[in-house]
Symmetry: C2
Subunit: 292 residues, 2 copies
DNA sequence: CCATTTATACTCAACATGAGTATAATCATT
DNA sequence: AATGATTATACTCATGTTGAGTATAAATGG
Protein backbone atom coordinates (compact mmCIF):
# COMPACT_ATOMS: atom_id res chain seq x y z
CA UNK A 1 0.00 0.00 0.00
CA UNK A 2 1.43 3.38 -0.98
CA UNK A 3 2.46 5.64 1.83
CA UNK A 4 0.53 8.61 0.50
CA UNK A 5 -0.43 10.09 -2.83
CA UNK A 6 0.59 13.57 -3.89
CA UNK A 7 -0.96 16.09 -6.20
CA UNK A 8 1.05 16.67 -9.39
CA UNK A 9 0.83 20.21 -10.74
CA UNK A 10 1.75 21.16 -14.28
CA UNK A 11 3.18 24.64 -14.88
CA UNK A 12 3.88 26.23 -18.26
CA UNK A 13 6.34 28.95 -19.21
CA UNK A 14 5.19 29.91 -22.66
CA UNK A 15 7.59 32.21 -24.49
CA UNK A 16 7.23 34.33 -27.63
CA UNK A 17 9.24 37.14 -29.16
CA UNK A 18 7.15 40.04 -30.45
CA UNK A 19 8.47 43.32 -31.71
CA UNK A 20 11.95 42.35 -30.65
CA UNK A 21 10.86 41.75 -27.05
CA UNK A 22 10.77 38.40 -25.26
CA UNK A 23 7.37 37.79 -23.74
CA UNK A 24 5.77 35.27 -21.43
CA UNK A 25 2.14 34.20 -21.23
CA UNK A 26 0.58 34.87 -17.83
CA UNK A 27 -2.77 34.74 -16.08
CA UNK A 28 -4.14 36.74 -13.15
CA UNK A 29 -2.88 40.03 -14.54
CA UNK A 30 0.72 38.89 -14.76
CA UNK A 31 0.77 37.37 -11.30
CA UNK A 32 0.83 33.67 -12.26
CA UNK A 33 1.83 31.22 -14.94
CA UNK A 34 -0.77 28.92 -16.54
CA UNK A 35 -0.98 25.77 -14.42
CA UNK A 36 -3.21 23.08 -13.01
CA UNK A 37 -3.18 19.59 -11.52
CA UNK A 38 -2.56 16.43 -13.53
CA UNK A 39 -5.92 14.69 -13.88
CA UNK A 40 -7.05 11.16 -14.50
CA UNK A 41 -8.21 12.10 -17.96
CA UNK A 42 -4.81 13.37 -19.10
CA UNK A 43 -3.07 10.79 -21.23
CA UNK A 44 0.41 12.17 -20.50
CA UNK A 45 2.11 15.01 -18.68
CA UNK A 46 2.37 17.06 -21.85
CA UNK A 47 -1.26 16.36 -22.71
CA UNK A 48 -2.28 17.63 -19.29
CA UNK A 49 -0.16 20.72 -19.75
CA UNK A 50 -1.72 21.45 -23.13
CA UNK A 51 -5.18 21.06 -21.65
CA UNK A 52 -4.51 23.57 -18.89
CA UNK A 53 -2.85 26.16 -21.10
CA UNK A 54 -5.64 25.85 -23.63
CA UNK A 55 -8.33 26.21 -20.94
CA UNK A 56 -6.73 29.16 -19.19
CA UNK A 57 -5.38 31.14 -22.13
CA UNK A 58 -6.91 29.75 -25.36
CA UNK A 59 -3.42 29.84 -26.82
CA UNK A 60 -2.00 26.86 -28.72
CA UNK A 61 1.22 25.26 -27.56
CA UNK A 62 4.06 24.64 -30.02
CA UNK A 63 7.48 23.27 -29.15
CA UNK A 64 7.56 22.04 -25.55
CA UNK A 65 10.29 20.72 -23.28
CA UNK A 66 10.39 19.76 -19.64
CA UNK A 67 12.15 22.13 -17.27
CA UNK A 68 12.25 20.86 -13.72
CA UNK A 69 10.28 19.06 -11.05
CA UNK A 70 10.20 20.11 -7.43
CA UNK A 71 8.24 19.38 -4.30
CA UNK A 72 6.61 21.53 -1.69
CA UNK A 73 8.93 22.55 1.11
CA UNK A 74 6.98 20.96 3.94
CA UNK A 75 6.21 17.31 3.37
CA UNK A 76 2.68 17.15 4.69
CA UNK A 77 0.00 14.74 3.53
CA UNK A 78 -1.34 17.46 1.24
CA UNK A 79 2.05 17.90 -0.39
CA UNK A 80 2.32 18.62 -4.09
CA UNK A 81 4.89 18.02 -6.79
CA UNK A 82 5.24 20.65 -9.52
CA UNK A 83 6.40 19.71 -13.00
CA UNK A 84 7.34 22.73 -15.08
CA UNK A 85 7.65 23.06 -18.85
CA UNK A 86 9.10 25.53 -21.31
CA UNK A 87 7.11 26.18 -24.48
CA UNK A 88 8.00 28.26 -27.54
CA UNK A 89 5.37 29.86 -29.77
CA UNK A 90 4.31 32.99 -31.52
CA UNK A 91 1.64 35.33 -30.28
CA UNK A 92 -1.48 34.62 -32.27
CA UNK A 93 -5.12 35.67 -32.22
CA UNK A 94 -6.90 37.98 -29.83
CA UNK A 95 -5.93 37.68 -26.22
CA UNK A 96 -8.31 35.66 -24.08
CA UNK A 97 -9.71 37.45 -21.03
CA UNK A 98 -7.52 36.66 -18.06
CA UNK A 99 -4.51 35.77 -20.20
CA UNK A 100 -1.80 38.33 -20.90
CA UNK A 101 1.54 38.40 -22.64
CA UNK A 102 4.13 40.25 -20.55
CA UNK A 103 7.70 41.27 -21.37
CA UNK A 104 9.94 38.98 -19.37
CA UNK A 105 12.26 41.84 -18.44
CA UNK A 106 9.39 43.31 -16.44
CA UNK A 107 10.13 40.49 -14.02
CA UNK A 108 13.91 40.59 -14.44
CA UNK A 109 14.93 44.14 -15.32
CA UNK A 110 18.56 43.42 -14.37
CA UNK A 111 18.80 40.72 -17.03
CA UNK A 112 18.53 43.05 -20.02
CA UNK A 113 22.07 43.98 -21.09
CA UNK A 114 21.34 44.68 -24.73
CA UNK A 115 22.25 48.32 -24.34
CA UNK A 116 25.38 47.77 -22.34
CA UNK A 117 25.48 46.54 -18.76
CA UNK A 118 22.11 46.99 -17.06
CA UNK A 119 21.79 49.88 -14.65
CA UNK A 120 22.05 48.23 -11.30
CA UNK A 121 23.17 51.12 -9.16
CA UNK A 122 20.46 50.83 -6.47
CA UNK A 123 20.43 47.03 -6.64
CA UNK A 124 24.17 46.82 -6.31
CA UNK A 125 24.21 49.14 -3.34
CA UNK A 126 21.68 46.96 -1.54
CA UNK A 127 23.63 43.82 -2.41
CA UNK A 128 26.88 45.33 -1.17
CA UNK A 129 25.15 46.08 2.10
CA UNK A 130 23.94 42.50 2.37
CA UNK A 131 27.37 41.04 1.57
CA UNK A 132 29.21 43.26 4.02
CA UNK A 133 32.72 41.93 4.65
CA UNK A 134 31.73 38.27 4.37
CA UNK A 135 34.18 36.88 1.75
CA UNK A 136 31.99 34.12 0.29
CA UNK A 137 29.14 36.57 -0.17
CA UNK A 138 31.43 39.07 -1.83
CA UNK A 139 32.85 36.43 -4.18
CA UNK A 140 29.36 35.32 -5.20
CA UNK A 141 28.35 38.90 -5.77
CA UNK A 142 31.39 39.62 -7.94
CA UNK A 143 30.67 36.48 -9.94
CA UNK A 144 26.96 37.12 -10.52
CA UNK A 145 26.95 40.91 -10.79
CA UNK A 146 30.46 41.77 -12.00
CA UNK A 147 31.48 45.37 -12.52
CA UNK A 148 32.54 46.00 -16.08
CA UNK A 149 33.59 42.81 -17.87
CA UNK A 150 32.41 39.29 -17.26
CA UNK A 151 28.60 39.39 -17.26
CA UNK A 152 27.37 35.84 -17.84
CA UNK A 153 23.88 35.89 -19.26
CA UNK A 154 23.18 32.27 -18.33
CA UNK A 155 23.25 32.80 -14.57
CA UNK A 156 19.66 33.98 -14.40
CA UNK A 157 18.58 31.55 -11.71
CA UNK A 158 21.66 32.11 -9.57
CA UNK A 159 21.13 35.87 -9.67
CA UNK A 160 17.49 35.45 -8.75
CA UNK A 161 18.43 33.24 -5.82
CA UNK A 162 21.02 35.73 -4.63
CA UNK A 163 18.47 38.52 -4.64
CA UNK A 164 16.06 36.27 -2.76
CA UNK A 165 18.63 35.43 -0.11
CA UNK A 166 19.50 39.08 0.22
CA UNK A 167 15.84 39.72 1.00
CA UNK A 168 15.39 42.16 -1.87
CA UNK A 169 12.40 40.48 -3.52
CA UNK A 170 8.82 40.91 -2.37
CA UNK A 171 8.10 37.19 -2.55
CA UNK A 172 11.05 36.51 -0.25
CA UNK A 173 9.52 38.70 2.41
CA UNK A 174 5.88 37.77 2.47
CA UNK A 175 6.12 37.14 6.18
CA UNK A 176 8.39 39.93 7.30
CA UNK A 177 6.68 42.77 5.44
CA UNK A 178 9.99 44.48 4.91
CA UNK A 179 10.64 47.40 2.61
CA UNK A 180 10.85 46.49 -1.10
CA UNK A 181 13.49 48.13 -3.25
CA UNK A 182 12.40 49.65 -6.57
CA UNK A 183 13.93 48.06 -9.66
CA UNK A 184 13.47 44.51 -8.44
CA UNK A 185 10.80 43.69 -10.99
CA UNK A 186 7.28 42.32 -10.81
CA UNK A 187 6.35 39.75 -8.21
CA UNK A 188 4.61 36.45 -8.98
CA UNK A 189 2.68 33.96 -6.90
CA UNK A 190 4.35 31.00 -5.16
CA UNK A 191 7.63 30.22 -6.91
CA UNK A 192 6.43 31.11 -10.41
CA UNK A 193 9.06 33.78 -10.83
CA UNK A 194 11.73 31.30 -9.89
CA UNK A 195 10.38 28.95 -12.55
CA UNK A 196 10.49 31.78 -15.07
CA UNK A 197 14.13 32.36 -14.14
CA UNK A 198 14.83 28.68 -14.76
CA UNK A 199 13.14 28.90 -18.15
CA UNK A 200 15.12 31.96 -19.22
CA UNK A 201 18.38 30.37 -18.17
CA UNK A 202 17.58 27.17 -20.03
CA UNK A 203 16.57 29.01 -23.17
CA UNK A 204 19.65 31.24 -23.10
CA UNK A 205 21.83 28.16 -22.90
CA UNK A 206 19.91 26.26 -25.52
CA UNK A 207 19.83 28.81 -28.33
CA UNK A 208 23.61 28.49 -28.50
CA UNK A 209 23.67 24.91 -29.63
CA UNK A 210 20.22 24.04 -30.91
CA UNK A 211 18.23 25.93 -33.59
CA UNK A 212 15.22 26.61 -31.39
CA UNK A 213 14.98 30.34 -32.15
CA UNK A 214 13.13 29.51 -35.31
CA UNK A 215 10.16 28.33 -33.25
CA UNK A 216 9.74 31.97 -32.27
CA UNK A 217 9.99 33.49 -35.75
CA UNK A 218 7.49 33.69 -38.60
CA UNK A 219 8.04 31.39 -41.57
CA UNK A 220 9.90 34.11 -43.43
CA UNK A 221 12.19 36.60 -41.78
CA UNK A 222 15.18 38.84 -42.41
CA UNK A 223 18.58 38.21 -40.89
CA UNK A 224 18.13 41.30 -38.74
CA UNK A 225 14.90 39.92 -37.31
CA UNK A 226 16.69 36.68 -36.55
CA UNK A 227 19.52 38.53 -34.88
CA UNK A 228 17.19 40.71 -32.84
CA UNK A 229 15.30 37.67 -31.60
CA UNK A 230 18.54 36.12 -30.42
CA UNK A 231 19.49 39.36 -28.75
CA UNK A 232 16.11 39.62 -27.07
CA UNK A 233 16.49 36.17 -25.54
CA UNK A 234 20.15 36.47 -24.61
CA UNK A 235 19.83 40.00 -23.27
CA UNK A 236 23.06 40.76 -25.11
CA UNK A 237 23.81 42.49 -28.36
CA UNK A 238 25.58 40.68 -31.15
CA UNK A 239 28.19 41.69 -33.70
CA UNK A 240 26.28 41.92 -36.94
CA UNK A 241 28.85 40.81 -39.54
CA UNK A 242 29.95 37.87 -37.41
CA UNK A 243 26.39 36.86 -36.73
CA UNK A 244 25.64 36.72 -40.44
CA UNK A 245 28.80 34.84 -41.17
CA UNK A 246 27.94 32.18 -38.63
CA UNK A 247 24.39 31.76 -39.85
CA UNK A 248 25.67 31.36 -43.37
CA UNK A 249 28.43 28.89 -42.63
CA UNK A 250 25.98 26.85 -40.58
CA UNK A 251 23.60 26.59 -43.51
CA UNK A 252 20.65 27.05 -41.22
CA UNK A 253 18.58 29.17 -43.56
CA UNK A 254 17.87 29.62 -47.26
CA UNK A 255 16.73 32.61 -49.29
CA UNK A 256 13.10 32.73 -50.31
CA UNK A 257 13.89 35.04 -53.22
CA UNK A 258 11.62 37.75 -51.83
CA UNK A 259 12.67 41.04 -50.29
CA UNK A 260 11.28 42.61 -47.16
CA UNK A 261 9.52 45.93 -47.68
CA UNK A 262 8.01 48.82 -45.82
CA UNK A 263 11.00 49.63 -43.68
CA UNK A 264 13.72 52.21 -43.76
CA UNK A 265 16.99 51.49 -45.52
CA UNK A 266 17.96 49.02 -48.14
CA UNK A 267 15.46 46.16 -48.34
CA UNK A 268 16.64 42.89 -46.81
CA UNK A 269 16.38 39.45 -48.33
CA UNK A 270 13.85 37.15 -46.75
CA UNK A 271 14.98 33.78 -45.46
CA UNK A 272 13.35 30.65 -44.21
CA UNK A 273 14.61 28.02 -41.84
CA UNK A 274 15.98 24.93 -43.60
CA UNK A 275 13.91 22.27 -41.87
CA UNK A 276 16.23 19.64 -43.34
CA UNK A 277 18.82 20.56 -40.72
CA UNK A 278 16.66 18.92 -38.08
CA UNK A 279 16.95 15.66 -39.96
CA UNK A 280 20.59 16.15 -40.91
CA UNK A 281 21.96 17.11 -37.58
CA UNK A 282 19.25 15.95 -35.31
CA UNK A 283 20.27 17.27 -31.99
CA UNK A 284 23.91 17.85 -32.49
CA UNK A 285 26.13 20.82 -33.12
CA UNK A 286 24.36 23.94 -34.22
CA UNK A 287 26.27 26.73 -32.65
CA UNK A 288 24.89 30.21 -32.50
CA UNK A 289 27.18 33.00 -31.42
CA UNK A 290 26.92 35.35 -28.54
CA UNK A 291 29.00 38.43 -28.33
CA UNK A 292 30.95 39.18 -25.19
CA UNK B 1 -10.91 19.19 -4.25
CA UNK B 2 -8.13 17.53 -6.18
CA UNK B 3 -9.12 15.19 -8.96
CA UNK B 4 -6.86 12.38 -7.78
CA UNK B 5 -3.50 11.91 -6.12
CA UNK B 6 -0.65 10.06 -7.76
CA UNK B 7 2.27 8.13 -6.41
CA UNK B 8 5.62 9.82 -6.99
CA UNK B 9 8.52 7.42 -7.48
CA UNK B 10 12.16 8.40 -7.13
CA UNK B 11 14.71 6.59 -9.29
CA UNK B 12 18.50 6.90 -9.04
CA UNK B 13 21.15 6.31 -11.66
CA UNK B 14 24.32 6.22 -9.61
CA UNK B 15 27.48 6.26 -11.70
CA UNK B 16 31.12 5.52 -10.83
CA UNK B 17 34.23 4.85 -12.87
CA UNK B 18 36.35 1.97 -11.58
CA UNK B 19 39.35 0.48 -13.31
CA UNK B 20 38.65 2.61 -16.36
CA UNK B 21 35.11 1.25 -16.70
CA UNK B 22 31.91 3.23 -16.20
CA UNK B 23 29.64 1.47 -13.75
CA UNK B 24 26.12 1.84 -12.48
CA UNK B 25 24.66 0.79 -9.13
CA UNK B 26 21.82 -1.74 -9.45
CA UNK B 27 19.65 -3.94 -7.29
CA UNK B 28 17.94 -7.25 -8.03
CA UNK B 29 21.00 -8.72 -9.67
CA UNK B 30 21.33 -5.94 -12.21
CA UNK B 31 17.68 -5.94 -13.16
CA UNK B 32 16.61 -2.66 -11.52
CA UNK B 33 17.83 0.75 -10.43
CA UNK B 34 17.48 1.83 -6.78
CA UNK B 35 14.07 3.45 -6.40
CA UNK B 36 11.08 3.93 -4.15
CA UNK B 37 8.06 6.16 -3.56
CA UNK B 38 8.26 9.67 -2.16
CA UNK B 39 7.02 9.47 1.41
CA UNK B 40 5.53 11.90 3.88
CA UNK B 41 8.69 11.83 5.96
CA UNK B 42 10.96 12.92 3.12
CA UNK B 43 11.80 16.58 3.45
CA UNK B 44 12.55 17.00 -0.27
CA UNK B 45 12.80 14.98 -3.45
CA UNK B 46 16.55 14.62 -3.08
CA UNK B 47 16.19 13.66 0.57
CA UNK B 48 13.77 10.92 -0.43
CA UNK B 49 16.14 9.72 -3.11
CA UNK B 50 19.02 9.57 -0.66
CA UNK B 51 16.90 7.62 1.79
CA UNK B 52 15.99 4.99 -0.80
CA UNK B 53 19.49 4.57 -2.18
CA UNK B 54 20.88 4.32 1.32
CA UNK B 55 18.27 1.73 2.33
CA UNK B 56 18.64 -0.42 -0.74
CA UNK B 57 22.37 -0.25 -1.36
CA UNK B 58 24.02 1.24 1.74
CA UNK B 59 26.02 3.42 -0.61
CA UNK B 60 26.38 7.16 0.00
CA UNK B 61 25.25 9.61 -2.65
CA UNK B 62 27.56 12.41 -3.81
CA UNK B 63 26.83 14.90 -6.56
CA UNK B 64 23.20 14.63 -7.69
CA UNK B 65 21.19 16.25 -10.46
CA UNK B 66 17.68 15.75 -11.71
CA UNK B 67 17.23 13.92 -14.98
CA UNK B 68 13.64 13.72 -16.08
CA UNK B 69 10.08 13.19 -14.89
CA UNK B 70 7.56 11.04 -16.70
CA UNK B 71 4.17 9.53 -16.08
CA UNK B 72 2.77 6.08 -16.52
CA UNK B 73 1.38 5.40 -19.97
CA UNK B 74 -2.19 4.65 -18.92
CA UNK B 75 -3.70 7.40 -16.84
CA UNK B 76 -5.58 5.30 -14.33
CA UNK B 77 -6.39 6.23 -10.75
CA UNK B 78 -3.35 4.26 -9.61
CA UNK B 79 -1.08 6.19 -11.94
CA UNK B 80 2.44 7.04 -10.92
CA UNK B 81 4.91 9.78 -11.76
CA UNK B 82 8.61 8.87 -11.85
CA UNK B 83 11.28 11.42 -11.05
CA UNK B 84 14.75 10.25 -12.04
CA UNK B 85 18.13 11.49 -10.85
CA UNK B 86 21.73 11.15 -11.93
CA UNK B 87 24.33 10.79 -9.18
CA UNK B 88 28.11 10.66 -9.40
CA UNK B 89 30.27 8.90 -6.81
CA UNK B 90 33.12 6.50 -6.29
CA UNK B 91 32.72 2.87 -5.37
CA UNK B 92 33.41 2.59 -1.66
CA UNK B 93 33.17 -0.08 1.01
CA UNK B 94 31.97 -3.63 0.71
CA UNK B 95 28.99 -4.22 -1.49
CA UNK B 96 25.69 -4.58 0.33
CA UNK B 97 23.77 -7.80 -0.35
CA UNK B 98 21.32 -7.13 -3.14
CA UNK B 99 23.27 -4.15 -4.48
CA UNK B 100 25.70 -4.55 -7.38
CA UNK B 101 27.87 -2.32 -9.50
CA UNK B 102 27.57 -3.23 -13.19
CA UNK B 103 29.47 -1.95 -16.20
CA UNK B 104 27.07 0.25 -18.14
CA UNK B 105 28.22 -1.17 -21.46
CA UNK B 106 26.71 -4.49 -20.36
CA UNK B 107 23.41 -2.75 -21.01
CA UNK B 108 24.58 -0.79 -24.05
CA UNK B 109 27.32 -2.76 -25.80
CA UNK B 110 26.87 -0.75 -28.99
CA UNK B 111 27.78 2.46 -27.15
CA UNK B 112 31.42 1.57 -26.51
CA UNK B 113 33.49 2.95 -29.38
CA UNK B 114 36.76 3.35 -27.51
CA UNK B 115 38.46 0.77 -29.69
CA UNK B 116 37.15 2.02 -32.98
CA UNK B 117 33.52 1.81 -34.09
CA UNK B 118 31.65 -0.83 -32.09
CA UNK B 119 31.04 -4.14 -33.81
CA UNK B 120 27.45 -3.89 -34.82
CA UNK B 121 27.32 -6.38 -37.65
CA UNK B 122 24.38 -8.47 -36.36
CA UNK B 123 22.61 -5.40 -34.97
CA UNK B 124 22.98 -3.50 -38.18
CA UNK B 125 21.67 -6.36 -40.25
CA UNK B 126 18.55 -6.54 -38.10
CA UNK B 127 18.09 -2.78 -38.30
CA UNK B 128 18.48 -2.79 -42.07
CA UNK B 129 15.75 -5.41 -42.21
CA UNK B 130 13.47 -3.27 -40.08
CA UNK B 131 14.10 -0.13 -42.14
CA UNK B 132 13.53 -1.84 -45.48
CA UNK B 133 13.05 0.75 -48.20
CA UNK B 134 11.23 3.24 -45.98
CA UNK B 135 13.20 6.50 -46.52
CA UNK B 136 12.58 8.09 -43.09
CA UNK B 137 13.64 4.91 -41.35
CA UNK B 138 16.76 4.65 -43.48
CA UNK B 139 17.66 8.29 -42.79
CA UNK B 140 17.27 7.78 -39.05
CA UNK B 141 19.37 4.67 -39.20
CA UNK B 142 22.15 6.40 -41.12
CA UNK B 143 22.08 9.22 -38.60
CA UNK B 144 22.15 7.06 -35.46
CA UNK B 145 24.28 4.16 -36.67
CA UNK B 146 26.45 5.67 -39.42
CA UNK B 147 28.91 3.52 -41.30
CA UNK B 148 32.45 4.81 -40.95
CA UNK B 149 32.54 8.49 -39.99
CA UNK B 150 30.00 10.48 -38.05
CA UNK B 151 29.25 8.51 -34.88
CA UNK B 152 27.71 10.90 -32.36
CA UNK B 153 28.22 9.62 -28.85
CA UNK B 154 25.48 11.80 -27.39
CA UNK B 155 22.61 10.07 -29.16
CA UNK B 156 22.34 7.27 -26.62
CA UNK B 157 18.65 7.72 -25.96
CA UNK B 158 17.76 8.03 -29.64
CA UNK B 159 19.62 4.84 -30.47
CA UNK B 160 17.90 3.01 -27.63
CA UNK B 161 14.53 4.20 -28.86
CA UNK B 162 15.29 3.11 -32.39
CA UNK B 163 16.21 -0.38 -31.20
CA UNK B 164 13.02 -0.47 -29.17
CA UNK B 165 10.89 0.53 -32.13
CA UNK B 166 12.64 -2.04 -34.26
CA UNK B 167 11.58 -4.66 -31.71
CA UNK B 168 15.12 -5.78 -31.01
CA UNK B 169 15.06 -5.36 -27.23
CA UNK B 170 13.59 -7.91 -24.83
CA UNK B 171 11.71 -5.26 -22.85
CA UNK B 172 10.05 -4.07 -26.04
CA UNK B 173 8.60 -7.53 -26.61
CA UNK B 174 7.38 -8.65 -23.23
CA UNK B 175 4.00 -9.34 -24.71
CA UNK B 176 4.90 -10.83 -28.06
CA UNK B 177 7.56 -13.25 -26.83
CA UNK B 178 9.53 -12.78 -30.01
CA UNK B 179 13.06 -13.94 -30.63
CA UNK B 180 15.75 -11.78 -28.98
CA UNK B 181 18.92 -10.97 -30.89
CA UNK B 182 22.24 -11.50 -29.14
CA UNK B 183 24.35 -8.37 -28.60
CA UNK B 184 21.42 -6.24 -27.51
CA UNK B 185 22.63 -6.02 -23.92
CA UNK B 186 21.07 -6.77 -20.56
CA UNK B 187 17.40 -6.11 -19.94
CA UNK B 188 16.03 -4.11 -17.02
CA UNK B 189 12.66 -3.85 -15.38
CA UNK B 190 10.02 -1.32 -16.46
CA UNK B 191 11.77 1.57 -18.25
CA UNK B 192 14.89 1.51 -16.13
CA UNK B 193 17.13 0.87 -19.09
CA UNK B 194 15.62 3.84 -20.85
CA UNK B 195 16.39 5.96 -17.81
CA UNK B 196 19.95 4.67 -17.85
CA UNK B 197 20.20 5.71 -21.50
CA UNK B 198 19.00 9.19 -20.55
CA UNK B 199 21.61 9.37 -17.81
CA UNK B 200 24.44 8.33 -20.10
CA UNK B 201 23.43 10.84 -22.73
CA UNK B 202 23.20 13.63 -20.17
CA UNK B 203 26.56 12.79 -18.68
CA UNK B 204 28.25 12.54 -22.07
CA UNK B 205 26.96 15.99 -22.94
CA UNK B 206 27.80 17.47 -19.58
CA UNK B 207 31.43 16.42 -19.25
CA UNK B 208 32.19 18.60 -22.26
CA UNK B 209 31.34 21.87 -20.61
CA UNK B 210 31.28 21.27 -16.88
CA UNK B 211 34.08 19.77 -14.75
CA UNK B 212 31.97 16.93 -13.36
CA UNK B 213 34.46 14.13 -14.13
CA UNK B 214 36.31 15.01 -10.99
CA UNK B 215 33.39 13.72 -8.92
CA UNK B 216 34.31 10.28 -10.22
CA UNK B 217 38.05 10.44 -9.55
CA UNK B 218 40.04 10.05 -6.33
CA UNK B 219 41.48 13.22 -4.80
CA UNK B 220 44.79 12.65 -6.54
CA UNK B 221 45.13 11.21 -10.01
CA UNK B 222 47.38 11.17 -13.05
CA UNK B 223 46.48 12.81 -16.32
CA UNK B 224 46.14 9.39 -17.90
CA UNK B 225 43.58 8.36 -15.29
CA UNK B 226 41.69 11.55 -15.98
CA UNK B 227 41.78 10.90 -19.71
CA UNK B 228 40.71 7.28 -19.31
CA UNK B 229 37.76 8.32 -17.17
CA UNK B 230 36.64 10.74 -19.85
CA UNK B 231 37.05 8.05 -22.47
CA UNK B 232 35.10 5.57 -20.39
CA UNK B 233 32.16 7.95 -20.13
CA UNK B 234 32.26 9.19 -23.69
CA UNK B 235 32.85 5.78 -25.20
CA UNK B 236 35.44 7.45 -27.45
CA UNK B 237 39.19 7.58 -27.36
CA UNK B 238 40.98 10.90 -27.09
CA UNK B 239 44.15 12.30 -28.60
CA UNK B 240 46.58 12.31 -25.72
CA UNK B 241 48.75 15.38 -26.44
CA UNK B 242 45.72 17.50 -27.23
CA UNK B 243 43.91 16.30 -24.16
CA UNK B 244 46.80 17.32 -21.95
CA UNK B 245 47.12 20.66 -23.65
CA UNK B 246 43.48 21.43 -23.05
CA UNK B 247 43.55 20.41 -19.40
CA UNK B 248 46.58 22.62 -18.89
CA UNK B 249 45.29 25.70 -20.67
CA UNK B 250 42.01 25.39 -18.76
CA UNK B 251 43.85 25.44 -15.44
CA UNK B 252 41.55 22.79 -14.07
CA UNK B 253 44.18 20.91 -12.10
CA UNK B 254 47.36 21.53 -10.15
CA UNK B 255 50.32 19.30 -9.36
CA UNK B 256 50.52 17.78 -5.93
CA UNK B 257 54.29 17.37 -6.20
CA UNK B 258 54.02 13.61 -5.80
CA UNK B 259 54.59 10.97 -8.43
CA UNK B 260 52.49 7.90 -9.09
CA UNK B 261 54.25 4.59 -8.54
CA UNK B 262 53.86 0.88 -9.03
CA UNK B 263 53.01 0.95 -12.71
CA UNK B 264 54.91 0.30 -15.88
CA UNK B 265 56.67 3.10 -17.68
CA UNK B 266 57.85 6.48 -16.56
CA UNK B 267 56.09 7.60 -13.39
CA UNK B 268 53.43 10.24 -13.87
CA UNK B 269 52.92 13.36 -11.84
CA UNK B 270 49.90 13.39 -9.56
CA UNK B 271 47.36 16.15 -9.89
CA UNK B 272 44.41 17.36 -7.93
CA UNK B 273 41.34 19.24 -9.08
CA UNK B 274 41.55 22.97 -8.44
CA UNK B 275 38.35 23.44 -6.47
CA UNK B 276 38.72 27.19 -6.90
CA UNK B 277 37.50 26.85 -10.47
CA UNK B 278 34.02 26.11 -9.15
CA UNK B 279 34.00 29.48 -7.49
CA UNK B 280 35.79 31.28 -10.34
CA UNK B 281 33.73 30.03 -13.20
CA UNK B 282 30.71 28.74 -11.43
CA UNK B 283 28.80 27.07 -14.13
CA UNK B 284 30.27 28.62 -17.20
CA UNK B 285 32.75 27.58 -19.84
CA UNK B 286 34.88 24.63 -18.95
CA UNK B 287 35.37 22.79 -22.15
CA UNK B 288 36.70 19.28 -22.22
CA UNK B 289 37.67 17.85 -25.56
CA UNK B 290 36.37 14.86 -27.38
CA UNK B 291 38.15 13.48 -30.35
CA UNK B 292 36.24 12.82 -33.53
C1' DC C 1 20.39 65.35 -54.87
C1' DC C 2 21.91 64.55 -50.26
C1' DA C 3 21.69 62.78 -45.65
C1' DT C 4 20.03 58.79 -43.30
C1' DT C 5 19.22 54.11 -42.76
C1' DT C 6 19.77 49.44 -43.34
C1' DA C 7 22.02 45.42 -46.02
C1' DT C 8 25.81 42.98 -47.48
C1' DA C 9 30.69 41.93 -48.53
C1' DC C 10 35.45 41.83 -47.11
C1' DT C 11 39.91 41.95 -44.26
C1' DC C 12 43.05 40.74 -40.60
C1' DA C 13 45.01 39.31 -36.32
C1' DA C 14 44.50 36.21 -32.43
C1' DC C 15 43.33 32.02 -30.79
C1' DA C 16 41.78 27.14 -30.76
C1' DT C 17 41.98 22.59 -32.73
C1' DG C 18 43.38 18.22 -35.07
C1' DA C 19 47.18 15.47 -36.15
C1' DG C 20 51.65 14.08 -35.77
C1' DT C 21 56.73 13.77 -34.01
C1' DA C 22 60.54 13.72 -30.64
C1' DT C 23 62.56 12.98 -26.30
C1' DA C 24 62.63 11.44 -21.23
C1' DA C 25 62.18 8.29 -17.38
C1' DT C 26 60.78 4.14 -15.61
C1' DC C 27 60.54 -1.43 -15.47
C1' DA C 28 61.44 -6.22 -16.97
C1' DT C 29 64.60 -8.95 -19.38
C1' DT C 30 68.44 -10.60 -21.40
C1' DA D 1 74.99 -3.28 -18.15
C1' DA D 2 72.48 -3.00 -22.24
C1' DT D 3 67.93 -3.50 -24.59
C1' DG D 4 63.25 -3.14 -25.49
C1' DA D 5 58.73 -2.14 -23.87
C1' DT D 6 55.93 1.20 -21.73
C1' DT D 7 54.34 5.38 -20.24
C1' DA D 8 55.12 10.60 -19.62
C1' DT D 9 55.91 14.93 -21.39
C1' DA D 10 57.27 18.54 -24.70
C1' DC D 11 57.04 20.47 -29.26
C1' DT D 12 55.59 21.59 -34.24
C1' DC D 13 52.57 22.84 -37.94
C1' DA D 14 48.69 23.48 -40.87
C1' DT D 15 43.91 24.59 -40.63
C1' DG D 16 39.74 26.48 -38.56
C1' DT D 17 37.12 29.53 -35.81
C1' DT D 18 36.33 33.91 -33.58
C1' DG D 19 36.39 38.84 -32.44
C1' DA D 20 36.74 43.25 -34.26
C1' DG D 21 36.64 46.52 -37.69
C1' DT D 22 36.05 48.69 -42.55
C1' DA D 23 33.98 49.46 -47.11
C1' DT D 24 30.36 49.52 -50.41
C1' DA D 25 25.33 48.96 -52.02
C1' DA D 26 20.44 49.97 -52.15
C1' DA D 27 16.58 51.83 -50.37
C1' DT D 28 13.79 56.25 -48.09
C1' DG D 29 12.62 61.08 -46.88
C1' DG D 30 13.29 65.53 -47.20
Amino acid sequence: MPDSGVQADLIAVLVAVTGGEPRVLTIEDGFALPSGPLQTGHRSLQAGLRAWVEAQTHHPLGYVEQLYTFADQRGGADRSVSISYLGLTREVGASYPGAQWRGWYEYFPWEDARKGPPSLAPLRAALEGWAGEEPTRRARLAWLFPEGEGWNEELVLQRYELLWEAGLLPEAMRKTQAHVLPGTGLEMTHDHRRILATAIARLRAKIKYRPVVFELLPKEFTLLELQQSMEALAGQSLHKPNFRRLIETQNLVEETGELASGLAGRPAKLFRFRAEVLAERGLSGTKLPLVR
